[in-house]
């Protein structure tokens, strides 16, 4: 154990202990040292002084913000050692410098700032070699700069400035700005050297461990920065920001972050990365941004204009610097959001790693700390990505936050909202359920869930539950109460449309009407309540009442497109076709690209102005479609997130599109004609919404669907003109997009009928029904053909089914009457004819349900 170590070996050992802050070993080593040579006594004093000072500081750490004051009894010994080392003057130059620096540090710890500066004036810090110096000396120099900065801040500027002597400049003529600049330079140098020291120290440490590999010593602990290095690393940018000098503060942040990280700087880097991201998001804009590899602008709006003279850029250089990230193809951000995102992703990966998972009470504080630091990062990520509309990516990031999220409402809610914004509706509803559990009093959350259930998901039963949560809140829901009734009304209204039994249909319609009336009375200034009340009345064919409410809705919101559309349809139900067309044209002047309005216009035009006008409108629609969707570049818009999404998106290609159904020609709002069809539609709408934000959101869900619908409308106009060839060409276009759509097949049947091919038509209609068994128009035509083929009972069956599906289709009633008549059932036939007549009197040109119903 006490085997004498040779001189150089001993020195290496001492150096290693100093570099690794193993102060407890120093006294023993000093004993060995002094046994060797008498001249080593001074070095021994130096080492003992250092080790006692460092041990003292470790036991009594200086707190940030607190300034040490007064001599401490424990430090008397330190002073004795150091004085002894300095006084005799036998030390080598290097050690002499070290002794002075330690003396200065001691003075600072004792609150003798002037004395400290006096000691620094004896050492020329700038001349101390950084290259080839032992690791501990780097730390010593860094600490010395930091301490000098601290002392300069403490000593009033007016006093004879001791700092000037070493730079050699005349003491006069130095303004406060220069002095501040000196202080900042001290800190910046300290920080730069500290980074270098930390890199070198880690390198030495890992090399050391490899040499003595099997013996895991106490060296395994992390390096600790201590007060002086922490100050050196951070004080410079704190001063920059305090002075309102954002440009230099940001520059300093970037310098620190560009240095290659090591274990000790990780936590600092995480803090600084987050702070820089905050500044980039809160205090900068695209125009005032400069990239990390560019020189900062000389004049920047970011800097406080009232403080002059702070824009001096860095005016020192060091012989050796910390390693920075380098290499080919380094990503360098080019705008503020990019840089903020990069920094936040880095912070996120660190925050995620520090997630405290254990839930035992002793770790409560740790958990709160890790949660807080992570949620700040996630909030900033939300701000950055939200600003750029990247909800898809955001939802993925927030999903990673879930390991913090147990019982944390904010994180759950943000995830739900991001999923909703990213169009991942089904998942959003599941997460919203958890949010409701965590915060049962907030009416917004169930309403958001209803919105998804009514809209893209078409989960009407779930929607009903969520809406009832809001209604059950009663008065507590305040302004949201009316919205709750509106929501449940919409659920009932959609259920009525879906219901296949007439009695259930009527039951739901009655309930819907009640709910809308309640909503309207609770919130008389909400145009939506009045509008949906009007729509529901219209569906129930209470045309005059509906007109009253739609006018009310229009008074509240004059340019609401759906109200205008409903008004036009109501007028057409009253057979005021010209008025209806005028309204549609007026609405189109405000919404020139609304395809729903244009479809109605085509219908009205072929009625009032002849098919040629209608064809012109169809052509116009094609032009609009082209200008709209040609412009947006779907390959750029949005990134499909999961591999699954990708796979679907790739299959989305035009020709491979094998969707059995697209949004029903007759119904603008999602209409689940069968469960299977609705599932497909659901999948489709998720795809459509994952197509992302830059695509226009209005109009039907999918551009290709819109195109197919336009062609089908044109085909219909041509069949009306008895032009089977043209109609067939148009249908072919639609068929290229959706070959198995029941609407396409139905149109083919119509064309076959026009050509007189009854058998062929029958075949098309049967195919159409095999895809969508509840398509009323096909059923009606098939019934008619079966009637012509004199298969009366089958025809009657088909038509009765059609009436079950839609009891307001007057032409079906009429056909049914004819079949019954042909079968000799005159009484039943009469009843059917009367029903048909009555319904026809209130029948709009297109079903009221083409108007979308959504929250």
């Amino acid at each position: 154990m006490t085997a004498r170590k040779s001189g150089s070996r001993l020195e290496t050992e001492i150096e290693r202990c100093r570099s690794e802050s193993q102060w407890d070993k120093i006294p023993e080593l000093v004993r060995q040292l002094s046994a060797k040579l008498i001249s080593n006594d001074d070095l021994g004093e130096l080492l003992l002084g250092e080790c006692k000072l460092q041990t003292y500081l470790k036991e009594n750490p200086i707190k940030q913000g607190a300034s040490p004051r007064g001599p401490r009894p424990k430090l008397v010994e330190v002073r004795k050692h150091l004085t002894a080392a300095l006084d005799r003057g036998n030390l080598k130059a290097d050690y002499l410098q070290e002794a002075s620096l330690l003396m200065a540090k001691l003075c600072y710890v004792e609150g003798e700032h002037r004395d400290a500066l006096g000691h620094y004036s004896r050492v020329i810090l700038e001349d101390m070699q950084l290259g080839g110096a032992p690791v501990y000396r780097l730390s010593m120099i860094a600490e010395a700069y930091a301490t000098k900065g601290l002392c300069l801040e403490k000593v009033p500027a007016a006093s004879p400035a001791l700092s000037n002597q070493n730079t050699g400049s005349p003491a006069s003529n130095r303004s406060a700005t220069d002095r501040e600049q000196d202080i900042i330079t001290c800190y910046e140098k300290s920080g730069d050297i500290a980074l270098l020291y930390l890199q070198e120290a880690e390198k030495a440490l890992s090399a050391g461990i490899q040499n003595r590999s099997p013996k895991p010593g106490p060296t395994a602990q992390d390096l600790e920065l201590g007060y002086f290095l922490e100050t050196g690393l951070q004080r410079a940018h704190v001063i920059h920001f305090k002075n309102g000098n954002l440009t230099r503060g940001v520059g300093r942040f970037r310098e620190i972050l560009r240095a290659v990280e090591n274990r000790t700087t990780q936590s600092l880097r995480m803090t600084i990365a987050r702070q820089l991201a905050e500044i980039l998001l809160r205090g900068m804009c695209e125009q005032s941004y400069w990239s990390p590899l560019e020189d900062p602008p000389t004049v920047s709006p970011l800097d406080d204009p009232t403080r002059q003279g702070h824009t001096i850029s860095k005016n020192y250089s060091l012989s050796r610097r910390a390693r920075v990230y380098s290499g080919e193809n380094l990503f360098c951000p080019q705008e503020n959001t990019e840089e903020a995102l990069l920094l936040l992703l880095i912070s996120e990966s660190m925050a995620n790693r520090d997630a405290v998972l254990s839930r035992i009470p002793e770790h409560n504080n740790d958990r709160i700390i890790s949660l807080q630091s992570a949620s700040v990062v996630y909030d900033l990520l939300t701000i950055a990505l939200g600003r750029r509309g990247q909800y898809e990516m955001l939802s993925e990031c927030l999903e990673r936050a879930m390991k913090f999220a147990f019982e944390e409402f904010h994180l759950w809610y943000q995830l739900a909202l991001s999923l909703m914004a990213a169009g991942k509706s089904a998942r959003a509803v599941k997460v919203l359920k958890e949010c409701i559990r965590l915060k049962p009093d907030d009416p917004t959350i169930p309403l958001l869930a209803v919105k998804l259930c009514i809209g893209p998901l078409h989960w009407l039963d779930d929607g009903e539950c969520f809406a009832n949560i809001v209604i059950d809140m009663g008065e507590k829901a305040a302004e949201f109460r009316a919205k709750g009734y509106l929501a449940i009304g919409l659920v009932y209204s959609l259920k009525a449309t879906d219901a296949s039994l007439r009695s259930t249909q009527e039951e739901y319609q009655r309930k819907a009407l009640g709910a809308f009336q309640r909503a309207q009375s609770l919130s008389p200034t909400d145009h939506l309540a009045a509008f949906y009340l009007a729509l529901q009345l219209a569906v129930s064919r209470q045309i005059p009442e509906a007109l009253g409410y739609v006018r009310q809705a229009l008074q509240l919101q004059g340019d609401d497109v759906h109200s205008l559309h409903l008004l036009a349809l109501l007028l057409s139900a009253q057979k005021h076709y010209h008025d209806a067309l005028n309204i549609i044209e007026m609405a189109l002047s405000e919404y020139p690209e609304n395809f729903n309005l244009l479809y109605t216009k085509v219908k009205l035009e072929s009625m009032c102005r002849g098919p040629e006008e209608a064809l012109l409108t169809c052509k116009h629609m094609l032009q609009i479609w082209k200008s709209f969707y040609n412009l947006t570049n779907p390959s750029d818009s949005g990134r499909g997130s999961s591999l699954l999404d990708r796979a679907i998106a790739d299959r989305r290609q035009l020709n491979a599109m094998t969707l059995p159904d697209f949004s029903d020609l007759d119904t603008g709002s999602v209409h689940a004609t069968s469960i299977a069809a609705s599932r497909v539609e659901q999948a489709l709408s998720e795809v459509a919404s994952s197509m992302q934000s830059s695509a226009p959101k209005h109009g039907p869900m999918h551009p290709w669907m819109t195109l197919a619908q336009i062609w089908l409308h044109a085909a219909e106009v041509y069949t009306g003109m008895s032009k089977p060839a043209e109609a067939s060409a148009c249908t072919q276009e639609a068929s290229n997009l959706f070959p198995t759509s029941h609407n396409v097949l139905y149109m083919r049947g119509q064309i076959a009928e026009l050509r007189g091919n009854i058998e062929e038509a029958k075949r098309w209609y049967e195919e159409s029904l095999s895809i969508n068994p509840t398509h009323v128009k096909t059923m009606q035509r098939l019934g008619l053909i079966l009637h012509q083929l004199q298969r009366y009972s089958l025809s009657e069956k088909v038509l009765r089914d059609a009436v079950q599906v839609n009891s307001t289709a007057h032409d079906v009633w009429n056909s049914l009457g004819e079949v019954l008549q042909a079968q000799g059932n005159a009484a039943a036939a009469t009843e059917c004819f009367l029903t048909a007549l009555e319904l026809e009197a209130s029948s709009p040109i297109l079903p009221f349900t083409i108007i979308p119903r959504a929250l």
């Binding site: 940030q64 890992s206 992390d222 922490e230 940018h237 704190v238 305090k242 560009r258 990280e261 700087t265 936590s267 702070q275 998001l281 205090g283 695209e286 990390p292 590899l293 920047s300 009232t306 380094l330 990503f331 951000p333 990019e338 990069l342 880095i346 990966s349 790693r353 520090d354 997630a355 405290v356 035992i360 770790h363 700390i369 890790s370 909030d379 900033l380 939300t382 939200g386 600003r387 990516m393 390991k403 147990f406 809610y413 943000q414 909202l417 914004a421 559990r437 958001l448 302004e479 340019d559 497109v561 405000e590 020139p592 750029d636 818009s637 997130s641 999961s642 699954l644 830059s694 929250l855």
Partner: protein, 423 residues
Amino acid sequence: MLAMDQGVVEEWLSEYKTLPDNAVSNYAASLKDKGALIPALYKVMRENYSDLLEPVCHQLFEFYRSGEPQLQRFTLQFLPELLWSLLSVSAARDPHTSGCIEALLLGIYNLEIVDKDGQSKILSFTVPSLSKPSVYHEPSAIGSIALTEGALANHGLSRVVYSGPHLQRENFTAQNRFEVLTFLLLCYNAALSYMTATSLQSLCQLSSRVCICGYPRQQLRRYKGISTRLTVTSEFLVQLITGIHYALCSGEVDLGSKALDDVLYRAQLELLPEALLVGNAIKSSLHGAALKSNNKEGARSIQVEITPTSSRISRNAVTSLSIRGHRWKRHESQEASVESDAAVGGVAIPDISVTGTSGERLPNGESMRPRLDGRAPPDCDPVGGASEVSLDLRGQEVRRQKSVRRMVENEGSGTASTGRSQY
């Protein structure tokens, strides 16, 4: 309007017209010295039926068209005020008074949507990825945190369009109004640092008014202008929020927080997820951050403090990182691996389920080891993590890359569904 203000505006109108081309940039720099001008221009815009409105709008457009950045920013600072004029007039259905404002706004829009060569401008940005080295990091040090399904699908950097291309517009319709206004706000937000306090205040007021007019909260704010509800879109609100965020951090604490509350109020009523998302995030990130209200122009409230650099989390707490150590590390060694749990998440932390309702309570970190070791079958090591613990960083990186490749291959060969189920 006082005669003096009128005089200032008229002088401004005539001065620019007589300006020789080479004097434009000097003129632009001198504009901020005309102290009375900007308040006078606001008065023109706020007053109904001012005769000066039309020439003012015309000149502001000339400024914008000059291409001189300072002149363009001069025009932009009035954008919030102009938007409010336009929206309030269109709500009142009085088409005649806002003609020149409409023309000015559409003019700026049509200039901004095209680049120098007249091609449609597409605004895009690069989504950074931790798997590509950058000036701030090295992928090997980050570990495999980024190896989610989505990250693999977008391995590397991808460029994403966030605005554009846009159509030229000749007039405002109900359909295109918010599309145009959203884009204009985007331009405004790109120059936020150059905007004066008055402009930011005006933006906050615009936000509040747009969101509360016609709603019960209007009484609370005692705003007596129009009382019709204005339709808004979620994207428009998100742009407003971006501006409000900047205002909040630049000293407009009162107006800014009111505006943010009002936008969130409206977003709740209209169930707009995007605006709620960003608004909530801003509220929560500013919570606790002491915002300094200032009356002094220029003093920013961005401040930082010296923070302790040692980890604030005690060493014996079970963290994502330590749990990895427990699972993979048999001996106390100097672990330089900073790999996160993401890659092994499914193996290492089954206790914290995503639904979180039945989060099992772990007694403490130490007792985790036997349990986890006992439960995880030895062959379910998807990344080969045990072999990764090494001090040789280069070797570690190589191994990690191998394991990454293995994961990619696994994903590719149809086990994507198992990958999904982890989350």
